[in-house]
């Protein structure tokens, strides 16, 4: 219980920190009056506009004001779309979540079999092969992987669409681009974690009492090897998110990252703010979840 409370408190603190970062973003980008008002606006109107937005207040007051409005879900109006920024970004969130879920699934589908094969056939051909695949995944540039996938599966073979999200199979290529880096990291981690577990005494006991090798790996090995993997997944979410941004932009996938990338060119700060904040919230929640699963998997933490 103390552990869970501690993690919760930590999560709240990180969220608070993210709100400072998000506020700092607007503050550093300079005066919104120069973006929003026409160039020939008379000075007294600029002053009035700044007063309306509270820009003539001291910075700490501006921050508290921002925090107060943020807690009510008010992040201002998108400069470009002229609607409230929060619902605009939030309504794209499910699409992004779906893409990240698919990317994670891809990463697990690649990493779990490869990791097990590599550990069981330590230093033999399957191990070398798995390590090479992992090395490739960690060294490939996400945008280039995307272009090559389009070239192969959309242009040459015509199996999968190269943009949009209107068909169920549209998610495949973006998910691979978003998940490739994590798949490689997971493979390496699962391999070394499983190798470590397999060398333990209780594994020898399980084998000695006559359990078949496959069962030993599956029942005793995997559960214990999963512990570092869960923590790793919590950290990996930031990479997954980062590459999902590339995937959405490349495949014109209608998630919230694509909206944010479009907002870059128009310097639509409210949209970028909401995007950074939602991304931060998501990372905090996933890490909290990973901490809980971690406690469930490892009784030493749960009972401590």
């Amino acid at each position: 219980m103390v552990y869970i409370l501690q993690r919760l408190l930590h999560g709240v603190f990180v969220l608070f920190g993210i709100s400072v970062v998000v506020f700092g973003l607007t503050w550093l980008t300079g005066d919104p009056a120069s973006v929003l008002l026409p160039l020939n606006t008379p000075p007294d109107q600029i002053a009035q506009f700044r007063h309306q937005l509270g820009l003539d207040q001291p910075v700490p007051i501006q921050y508290l004001d921002f925090l107060g409005r943020a807690l009510h879900g008010d992040f201002g109006i998108s400069f470009r779309q002229r609607t409230a920024a929060l619902p605009l970004v939030a309504e794209r969130l499910p699409v992004t979540l779906e893409l990240m879920g698919a990317a994670l699934l891809f990463a697990l589908l690649v990493a779990v079999p490869l990791g097990i094969l590599a550990a069981v056939f330590h230093r033999r051909t399957p191990d070398l092969l798995a390590r090479f695949v992992a090395l490739l995944g960690q060294s490939v540039a996400a945008p280039w992987l995307g272009v090559m996938l389009i070239l192969l599966f959309a242009v040459t073979l015509r199996w999968l669409p190269s943009s949009g999200a209107d068909k169920p199979q549209s998610i495949v290529l973006p998910a691979i681009v978003a998940g490739a880096y994590s798949a490689a990291g997971l493979t390496r981690l699962l391999r070394s974690s499983l190798l470590e577990v397999l060398a333990n005494d209780y594994m020898r006991t399980a084998r000695a009492k006559g359990l078949p090798g496959r069962l030993v790996v599956m029942r005793h090995g995997l559960k214990n090897a999963a512990i570092p993997v869960v923590t790793f997944l919590g950290l990996q979410i930031t990479f997954l998110f980062g590459n999902a941004v590339i995937a959405e932009a490349m495949f014109a996938y209608p998630g919230m990252s694509r909206l944010a990338v479009e907002a870059i060119s128009t310097r639509d700060m409210p949209v970028i703010q909401v995007f950074v904040l939602l991304a931060g919230v998501l990372v905090v929640l996933v890490n909290l979840f990973a901490d809980l699963v971690y406690a469930w998997l490892d009784p030493r933490i749960r009972l401590a």
Binding site: H10, F13, V14, G17, I18, V20, V21, L25, L28, T29, H122, L135, L136, Q138, S139, V140, A141, A142, P143, W144, L145, V147, M148, I150, L151, V155, R188, S192, L195, E196, L235, I237, T238, F239, F241, G242, N243, V245, I246, A249, M250, A260, V261, I264, S265, R267, I272, F275, V276, A279, G280, V283, V284, N287
Partner: protein, 281 residues
């Protein structure tokens, strides 16, 4: 050259690849077959092996959408990409090491505050942080390096801090304090050398991530700006004509793959040698 003799074949391969690209980057103006910025609209999107009718030179990797020689741009891009990778990694190493050293050595509230900042920094996905910073600073070569450095210092800060913590009450520091050494001297002369191995290992892997990172930023239009070629923006150049000219994207992406792979191989090898606890078994 003693280290080179003790390398395993994989590490030697990685080392050779890196040296090859570094050499190409250093000698770029001498070995580029053509001016990497020279446009030739008459020979746009020509395939690899195309012979230029005017000069009779063979363009081994073809031309891009503006008729520029891809091989020459690849060599010029090696300068930019390796520079961005090395400078970005150095900047984050300096930032992260100073923060990690001071947090670990001073401890107390300063340590607590710094580690909370690290937590927050880690909760914002790196691309998103970089987007935010790049939007504020505006894109240019220096700003790309700045963005990479600012987004990645936490990796160093965490590692250096935890190693400094374990050194803080060690015999070396104690002995130095007994003879009256000042704090700055203790940190720089006695703690830093002991955490240096970790910094070297982390940096070797970091240069690779930085090159990948630059490619992602370039793809979003926030990286090194045209007409200066970087491998990242060369990949982007090939996105539009991908249906008719696969070679425009293929070669710069392969260059990234090869170099980052070589860096990762060498980094893993270094880690196994310098820090047996984290070996890949």
């Amino acid at each position: 050259m003693d280290a080179v003799q003790h390398m395993d074949p994989a590490a030697l391969f990685g080392f050779a690849i890196i040296m090859l690209f570094v050499l190409a980057a250093l000698l770029a103006p001498l070995i580029e077959p053509r001016d990497p910025l020279a446009q030739d609209l008459a020979s746009r999107l020509k395939p690899p092996g195309f012979t230029d009718p005017q000069s009779g030179t063979r363009l081994w990797l073809g031309t891009d959408g503006l008729g520029r020689d891809i091989l020459s741009r690849l060599i010029e891009g090696a300068r930019v990409s390796l520079l961005v990778g090395a400078c970005g990694a150095s900047l984050s190493a300096v930032l992260g090491t100073s923060i990690g050293l001071s947090a670990g050595y001073l401890g107390g509230w300063f340590d607590a505050a710094m580690m909370r900042i690290v937590d927050v920094w880690q909760a914002v996905p790196y691309t998103i942080l970089a987007i935010a910073i790049a939007v504020i600073l505006g894109p240019s070569l220096q700003n790309v390096i700045l963005v990479l450095g600012i987004s990645s210092w936490v990796n160093y800060a965490r590692v250096v801090r935890s190693e400094t913590l374990s050194q803080r009450h060690g015999e070396v520091v104690l002995a130095a304090r007994v003879v009256g050494a000042g704090h700055l001297r203790i940190v720089l002369r006695h703690v830093l050398p002991q955490v240096a191995a970790s910094i070297v290992v982390l940096s070797s892997l970091m240069v690779g991530s930085m090159i990948l990172f630059e490619a992602s930023l370039s793809f979003l239009g926030l990286g090194v700006q045209p007409p200066t070629p970087s491998w990242g923006n060369m990949v982007l150049d090939g996105v539009e004509p991908i249906r008719v000219a696969w070679w425009v994207s293929l070669f710069p992406g392969l260059a990234i793959l090869l170099v980052v792979m070589a860096i990762n191989i060498l980094g893993d090898w270094l880690r196994d040698r310098l820090d047996p606890r984290h070996s890949m078994l």
